[in-house]
Amino acid sequence: MAKLPASPEKLISDFGPHLNYAPQEGYPGRDEPDASVKTHCCFCGMQCGIQLLVKNNKVVGFEPWMEFPFNEGRLCPKGIQRYLQDNHPDRLLEPLQRVEGEGFKPVSWDKAMDRVTSEIQRIQDAYGKDAFAVLSGVSLTNEKSYLMGKFARVAIKTSNLDYNGRLCMVSAGAGNKKAFGLDRTSNTYADLEHAEVIIVAGANVSETFPTLTHWLWRARDNGAKLIVIDPRVIPLARTADIHLPVKPGTDSALYGAMLKYLGDHDMLDHDFINNHTTGFEETLSAVQDYTLEWAAATTGIEIEKIRQAAELWGKAKTSFLLHARGIEHHSKGVDNVLGCINLVLATGRIGRPYCGYGTITGQGNGQGGREQGHKCDQLPGNRDITNPEHRAYVAGVWGIPESELPGKGLTAWELIEAIHRGEVKGLLSICFNPLVSLPNNNYVREALEKLEFYVAIDFFLSETARHADIVLAGSLHEEEEGTVTTAEGRVVRIRRAVTPPGNARADTAIILELAARLGAKDKFTYADSEAIFNELRVASKGGTADYFGITYKKIEDNMGVFWPCPSEDHPGTPRLWEDKKFATPDGKAHFNPVKFKEPSEVTDAEFPVVLTTGRVVSQYLSGSQTRRIGKLVNLIPEPLLEIHPALASTYNIRQREMVRVTTRRGTAEFPANIVETIRKDTVFIPYHWPGKKSANQLTIGTLDPISKIPEFKVCACRLTPLGVISTPGETHAFDSI
C-alpha cells in the first residue's frame, strides 16, 4: 500500500541486506553435529545433493553428499555458502505490520492473520473476487506449489494467480507442449556423456548451472563436439569447438537457416519425420529463404561458422541440444524454442540413448513448480484450466463443484499492469520479488504503490516486501519436508533440517491457517507435507506430469524418481519418447513453422546499442537470499557493464569509468568492464541487484504472445560516459533504494 513506510535507509538498517559470514573457526558444533541431513541445494534447478550439518536445531555447515547421482558431491559457490542463509541476522522471526513513518513492527500472529483475512474479504466484497491476486514462486516445493494453486482457487477463489516461473522458462514450456504435448527435458544429463554433438544455446551453464559443466566436460572427454550459441564468450564457449556469437534477438534466424541447410543437404531422418512427426513440409518451406548469407547478415555470425555448425549437427549420430533463458526471454521466446526443437526433430535424434533435448530449468523447483498448478492457466498434473475435462477432474479431487473453480487469470506481468490500472487492489505474494526481477522496475514500483492491501510471506524482507502492509514470517527450504523436481525431471526429497526460528512459521502452516480463516478449513486438512504430496499424486494422476506412482519412500529408496510415473510399480521415466509415442493428441511430435521476427525494440539513431542481461555465478535470481551472504557478495560485489573495446573507444569509455545507460524505460549507471569477450554491438549487465543497480530499470516489458514471458534479453539503449572512474568495491546496500 502506497509508498515505503519509512526511509529505505531505515528499512535496510532494520532488515538488511546485511552480509552474513561464518565465524572464523566455523559455527560451534560443526565438528560434532547432531545430524547431517541429506537434502538439496535451494539455489537452482540442478538441485544438487548436499548434506546440511545441524547442531542444536541450527544449520552450522555442510558436507558434500557423494552418493547423489547427479552431482556426486560437486557444488558451486552458492551451494557451498547456502548454509549461511540460516542463522542470518536479517531473518524475520515474527509477523510484521507496517507502521507509517517507522517501518515495520512486530504483531501477533492472530492479529496479522485477522488483518489479512479481513482485507481479502473487504477487497473481494467491494471489487469482486479477482480484485485480489496471488503471486507465487517456484523456489517452493511441489507440495507448496500445489497448495498455493489450490489455496488461491479454493480459499481465496480468485482466478488471478500466477508465479515467477513466468519470468523463467514458460517459453520453453509452451514450445515443448506444442511440439511434444509435454513439458520436460527429454533425457537425464547422464545422456550427455556419449552425445557426439552438443548445442548449448543461450545458457551460461558455467555461471548459472555450474555443476552441469561436469556432464558437458565428460562428453567432451569422450570426444563430443560442443557448439555454444551466445553473444558473449562465456566460459563454456572459450574451449568450445564452435562459438556462434549471435546478435541478441536473432536466434530464430540462426535455427531457421540451419534447418534449411539440413534440408538442402538432406541431413534428415526421413523415417522419423514420416512416421512420428507432423508439419515438416510447412516448417521447412517457412525457412526456404533463410540462406546462410541471410542468416550471417541477420545474426552477425560468420557464415562459415554457421555452415560448420549445421554440418556438425547434420552429420551427428547422437546429440543433445540444451537451451535456457538466453533464447526464452524474448517476445518470440516460444519461436526460438520451436526453432531448436525443429532441429532436433529433423534429425530424429530423440528418445534414444545419448540423443536428447531440453531446456535447463533455472529455479530451484522450476520444473516441478510449473506442473502443480500455481500458474494462471494451469491445474495440477500440468492440466489446462480451460479444458472442461481437466477442470472437472481437479474440482473432483478438491471436492468443489466445477463451476466454482475459477478460470484462467492474468499472467505475472499482466497482473502488474492490472494493478497499475487499478483493477487489482489486493495482493498476496510468496517466494517472488517482482520489484527486482520484473522488467521496468519503475513501473512495477508504481503498481505496488497503488495496492490497497499487500501481504507478503517471506523469510527475509525482500525489496518488494518493503511495500507490504503485513509480512508473515515464513520458512526456508530446509525448514519443511517436501519434494522438488529437478531440471532433469527427477523428483527428489527436501528434508527438514531444522524448525523455523523464533516465531516464524512453516509456509504450509501459514497457508493452512489462512485457508481455515477464509472458511475453507475442510478442504485444507493435512497431517503433514506427505499428506499434501499424496493428494498431489491423485490430482496429477492421468495428467501429462503424472506423479501418481511416486511416493516419499520410493524417492528416498532410489534417490529420486523421474516423472511420468503413473503407478506405484512403475520405475519412472528417465528418458522420454523411447516408444516414439508423443503426448500430443495425435501421438506425434509436431514441427512448427518459425518465421523470423525482429525483437520488440530494435536499435536506432537514438538508442544505437543492444542491451542484454544475464546472471553471475555468485547470485541467485533477484538476490533476496544471496545478496545477504557475505562471501557471495564479495565474489562479484557489483554489476558491471560489459562492453567491447571497439564500442568503448567510440564513446571514449575507459576501464571502470561510470557509464549511464539509458533506455526508453529509465536510466542506470554502471562501471564499464572493457572486454573482448562480447559482441561489438552489444552491452551486457547482470540483473540480480535492486534499486539503482538494477538492470531491470532498463529492460522492456514486451511479452511473448503465447508464453507471456517478458523480453529481458534484448532492448535498445544508449551510453553516456560520466568521466568518473569508480573504484572497485562492494555495492552499497543503500543502492537498493
Partner: protein, 189 residues
C-alpha cells in the same frame, strides 16, 4: 597426528583448461577446518580484457620445496606423505620469502595475521581418507583427486605430468597437471 587413513594411492590431478572460474573451490577451501575461513586456493583471470580464461592453482607439493628452503624460520616442512605443510604458526615471521620464491605462485601472505598460509591438501580431510574439499566440489573437475587408474580411464587422451621447467630450473611435484597424451613435462619458460 591421525594419519592412518591417508590413502597413498590417491593423487591430485589439475587441468586448468577445464576451469570455468566459478570459485567453488575457493569457497570450499575456506570451509576447510585447518584454515579458518581463509581460502588457500587461487582462481584468477589470466587476462580478463582479452579472454574469459581463468586458472586454478593448488599447492603442487614439490618434491624439493623451494618454499621450505627459502624460509628463514624453518616454518615449512614436508611430511612423510610428501605433503608440504602450511607454515608452522609459531615459527612463521611473515617475511614472504616463500610467497615470492614459489615457482607456482601458491603461498599466500595473510597480512592481518602477519603469517603465510598455504594449501596443505586439506590435511584434515585427506588424513581421514577423504578427498580435499576443492577437488570434491569442483563442478568442472579441473581439480580431480583420485587414483591414477581412474584418471587414465576417464581421460585416456591426456597424460599426468609432474615435471615443470622454469628456465634453468626443473621442478618435480606430487601434484600432476593433465597434458596432451605423451607429454612428459610442461615448459613454462
Amino acid at each position: 597426528m591421525e594419519v592412518t587413513a591417508y590413502k597413498t594411492n590417491m593423487e591430485f590431478f589439475v587441468d586448468m583448461q577445464r576451469c570455468i572460474g566459478c570459485k567453488a573451490c575457493e569457497m570450499a577451501c575456506a570451509e576447510c577446518e585447518t584454515n579458518g575461513q581463509e581460502s588457500m586456493i587461487h582462481v584468477n583471470y589470466v587476462e580478463r580484457a582479452v579472454t574469459i580464461q581463468t586458472t586454478v592453482q593448488v599447492c603442487m607439493h614439490c618434491d624439493d620445496p623451494v618454499c621450505a628452503k627459502v624460509c628463514p624460520a624453518d616454518a615449512i616442512a614436508k611430511d612423510d606423505f610428501g605433503v608440504v605443510q602450511s607454515a608452522n604458526t609459531a615459527r612463521c615471521i611473515g617475511c614472504s620469502n616463500c610467497v615470492m620464491a614459489c615457482p607456482f605462485g601458491v603461498p599466500k601472505k595473510e597480512e592481518k595475521y602477519d603469517m603465510m598460509m598455504k594449501c596443505n591438501m586439506c590435511y584434515d580431510r585427506t588424513s581421514a581418507g577423504k578427498k580435499p574439499m576443492c577437488a570434491t566440489v569442483c563442478p568442472s573437475q579441473a581439480l580431480f583427486y583420485g587414483t591414477r587408474e581412474e584418471i587414465n580411464r576417464m581421460r585416456p587422451n591426456s597424460t599426468p605430468v609432474n615435471t615443470f621447467i622454469f628456465g634453468q630450473q626443473v621442478v618435480t611435484t606430487k601434484v600432476n597437471i593433465m597434458m596432451p597424451k605423451g607429454s612428459t613435462q610442461l615448459k613454462v619458460h
